[in-house]
Symmetry: C2
Subunit: 362 residues, 2 copies
């Protein structure tokens, strides 16, 4: 499948939905990819089955705080430069590009890099959602080293991290990303096609496209959210899904702290019953509680959409008074194993509770 | 001249004096070098004249906050590893080692690295004193690029910085050094022998040795500080020197902030006249004022010594009630040029005054 410019809007919208508030603003992601595709032609999206075991595959990703991406635009040269430097270090030219996460910027920008290089993008990523830290990917959970990792700023200065584990890589990259102004290009987790097949969450980019499309189609029929849910129920991973809350944002705390957008969003039910939902986020939404009771928790997805249009709302664009619906969605099974929960389960974010799948929460 | 173990104590003491409070504790520096020299044999100290133009010369230095070095000991493996990685990147094996600064740790540790490698140490450094930031060396002032720079922690994780200028290199290294716990090994400013000759402050290690020796000799004759001053007056750079204050520490603020030991030390005159001196430091002492009037300011040297023994006192060992003499010393002429002052003159540390040589201050 060729990723043409006309597909990008749906791609970016669906990716923003799966990004659970993080992964960047879909408008910015779309602009970056559109520019590259118009100049270099559309890249191919290939399935895991079409990927050769020996192909060198590189993830490219923006690291930082999404609020920053709005003001400090991404340029594409930086990401291409990061990739080139990582290729130099490993001695292997990229044969394909992969997204590290699904998000409005971070699963669309790989199309831009791939277009420039004439390379295919693998229809997969490392989480089937977005997460705030570099170690929080299935690549790491299932044994791919995060480093060497190359981080690049807009001046094309670059820093190469060689660390002993993925969390240590994250710590060093976060320090540098902060110094670089919290918006930097990154290439890490250099892999073979075989490693990608063994560790990635497959099919997530085409699923993102399907989600974006379902929202738009639903608008024509008058109920984008019902259309979205109907589509999700047909997917292999996201089929346990429900609207958890219909409310208005009555309180919002969002700050740039420790290298992320950290915050809490409180909603009040529109039905007048006085019920309240609290969402805690670190770039991405992590947990949603109604009147103190957990309704969905990481790695399952907490997605915020506009209650009328179904448009995904990212954490950096949350605002007081906004009327939204909160949708809980099941994560891929590969994201719910004990090994996976040891890397990005609730306790890894400081929550004192265990993961319970959304389908098991009353 | 062979740097044997019996010379190390005087070397480290004199280096700590020139370190103007920074550059690390001489006891720790001496232990690190002693261990390596006992195991591998003493390295040769060679003059700039003995250095071949084509030799690859690498500075090795500890970066961080000296208070940390006391608790988190340096190991030597880290520095050797940093050097090896920088050699790999440049493709040139080291032919000699050089100190980046003169200080109790940072001009003694190169002896340890050189001993392990069987290499000579160049009798020179990048400032003839110590300074808190990576760009604050004559190597940078006179045109040697700071990067590639390799920083290594005690677990032998390493990060390689490629930046466009020395200040940007400093910013990135400081962020990583902070993440690494503010005690990390660093090799940067890879040079040729020709570049060293063109930019370094020559003879400073043997001068450090002479200073350390003068203090010890003076003790035998009953006046270490007079002996020290007499020696300084015979040197090519440090010949403008005077005791500026004789007092007791009555107030001390020292914190680890932004990746350094930052603070202020206030002394009261022992003569009962009520006069007060204030010293401001950032790892190193930067300025000394008596009753609000500047008496010596960077890049000239503000040196604190025990008033009885003449032992140099580093900023991390300053303590309330200590009785000390403050000695002001002229910096090398190469450190006082307009280009040099643009990198480490008073305004670069936020002081709103211009540099005045100590010999011109009343």
């Amino acid at each position: 499948m060729k990723v043409t410019v006309d597909l990008l809007e749906d791609f970016a919208r669906g990716a923003a939905f799966l990004g659970t508030g993080g992964g960047g603003d879909p408008y910015i992601g779309r602009l970056a990819a559109q520019h590259a595709i118009e100049e270099y032609g559309p890249p191919e999206l290939i399935s895991l089955d079409e990927l050769d075991d020996d192909t060198a595959v590189y993830p490219v990703v923006y690291i930082g705080a999404p609020t920053i991406f709005i003001e400090k635009l991404i340029c594409g040269d930086d990401m291409d430069f990061a990739l080139s430097k990582l290729e130099e270090i490993t001695g292997r030219k990229a044969g394909a590009i992969i997204s590290a996460e699904v998000g409005g910027v971070n699963s669309i920008v790989p199309f831009a890099v791939a277009a420039r290089r004439g390379l295919p993008v693998v229809d997969a990523d490392g989480m089937g959602r977005a997460f705030p830290e570099v170690q929080m990917v299935t690549f790491n959970v299932y044994g791919v080293p995060a480093s060497p990792a190359v981080i690049v700023n807009e001046h094309l200065e670059h820093v190469v991290v060689h660390a002993h584990d993925a969390k240590s890589t994250e710590n060093k990259l976060r320090a540098i990303a902060t110094e670089m102004g919290l918006g930097a290009g990154l290439s890490c987790y250099p892999m073979t096609g075989k490693q990608v097949k063994d560790t990635a969450v497959g099919g997530t980019l085409s699923l993102a496209h399907g989600i974006g499309r379902a929202i738009v189609e639903g608008r024509k029929q008058g109920d984008p959210i019902e259309s979205l849910l109907a589509y999700l129920r047909t997917t292999p991973y996201y089929n346990k899904c429900k609207v958890l809350f219909d409310g208005k944002i009555v309180d919002l705390l969002r700050e740039v702290k420790g290298g992320w957008n950290i915050g809490t969003c409180v909603l009040e039910a529109l039905d007048g019953g006085g019920s309240r939902m609290e969402i805690v986020f670190q770039n991405e939404n992590l947990i949603a509680r109604v009147d103190g009771k957990t309704k969905v928790i990481v790695p399952d997805l907490v997605c915020v959409v506009d209650r009328e249009s179904g448009e995904p709302v990212t954490t950096e664009t949350l605002r007081y008074g906004q009327r939204v619906k909160i949708i809980g969605v099941s994560a891929a099974p590969i994201m719910r194993t004990p090994e996976a929960l040891a890397v990005f389960g609730p306790r890894m974010f400081g929550f004192d509770e265990d993961f319970v799948p959304i389908e098991d929460i009353a």
